[in-house]
Amino acid sequence: MIRIESLSKKYGGRTVVDDVTFTARPGRVTGFLGPNGAGKSTSMRMMVGLTRPHAGHVTIYDRSFAELPNPGRVVGVMLDASAQHAGRTGREILTLAQRTMGLPPDRVSEMVERVGLTETAAERRVGTYSLGMRQRLGVAVALIGAPSVLILDEPANGLDPAGIRWMRDLLRAFADEGGTVLLSSHLLHEVEVIADDIVMIGRGRIVSQGSKEVLLKGAGTVVRARDTEALERALGDSGLVTTRTHDGALHTDAEPTVVGLVACESGLALTELRTADGGLEEMFLALTADTEREGKAA
């Protein structure tokens, strides 16, 4: 359980993280979503005490990070998989973590195997690793202390599709076991696929948060029929307000079940019926576009 309360950070006069409050719960994967530069990494650094907040605080199981007696045994952290001495081997980096935490030495080989690095790869210097291998090593360092909380900054970066699948399954299994996972991403699709709860941040402020179901449900239903105009009339007759999407489908705020029932009663064949993810996506696209404009202006 990670509780973030009114977290703020200013650099000079610029507010980078602005009054961020949310909770990452046990048994759930919380996706921290936002365009690059939205304040995700700064927030995560504040959670683990690497950056001092300007205001607000973070507790992990009701204790601040610095109060944890042996933090690696409670929280697995990966903020930047590339932040390692290029001259150390993967095995050596794991050994340093194992020794600091006071774990049995055989944990090192166990973790090498568990994250799918080969023994030969583990003996190589990290300078020769691909980004995907560094991510796997970073996850191994995060998991070696058998923590109950994971804080991962962009863990899917640099992974190939099989790697992304592996990461997703791993985090899912960790959360299903009762662990708390907080991961950040600048990709909406990634977060949609993996997260149970979504916290969306833009220019340092939370713009939307809630469970994935609720956030997606709020966006209504997208529907197509072989005879779309007939469907539009039928839905209108049932008192549902519809709008045409730019590619010719119908959008309504009603649940897909309601829309399906109306179509069924009117004997209309549907060609598409789904929950609209437009709400979240539109908001995210707007945020990203904002950030890009600012970037160009700067």
């Binding site: 683990v48 001092r52 933090p71």
Partner: protein, 265 residues
Amino acid sequence: MTTITLDPVHEEPLHVRGVPLSRVVGVELRKMFDTRAGFWLMASIVIFALVSTVATIAFAPESDLTFYTFSAAIGFPMTVILPIIAILAITGEWSQRTGLTTFTLVPHRMRVILAKVIASLIVGVASMLIALVFGVAGNLIGPAITGTDRVWDVSLVHFLEIVLGSLISLLLGTTLGILFRSSPVALVAYFVISFLVPTVLGLLAANEPGFRDLQRWVDLNLAQSFLFDGTISGAQWAQLAVATTLWLVLPALLGLRLVARSEVK
């Protein structure tokens, strides 16, 4: 496809004990050796000690072939290598960005720095003992080759003073590492302070008689030299204390403040 195996996840955090300082010191000591650069830096201590011993036997005039000559020859490269080791032990966390891991596993920066200082001092003392072994060996073999008398002209007290002098150089490296948190800047600063500053202060004292008295109090290198000579006495101890405060203690206090506040990225 890799199968996913997980450790049982504890919903409530485990009741684990804290990380004892000795463990942090052990890890920091290991980090000084476990890269190629670190390994060769450590190896160079032994290599330079060996080369200095052999060179002394080969080139020093027979009348100078005493234990003190060996000590001085072996000791000089130490005052260069030990500070470099001490600097890199600190600055690596920022230059190599390993601080991201180090300071999250032990989220108390002063504790990590303390562990690094202890680890550096252990390396420093061990190096001096290695130097002692080479010095003794040199002084046993050298005069045997030249057929001169063995002269043991370094007392235990003098040896301890040499150790102290070398550790001051080492700690100057630590201080600069803490202050600048950048390997190149700290290295340049070390060479400026230990080679350029003494020359400038010496010139100043030679040309400005009024400065000569002050020099004894502010010139760390001069104050240290009495330790290496084994001639240090009452007033010079006081001067050493003042110069050390000026060049080591005050900058270190400022540096620690910066380390505590700085952001680790």
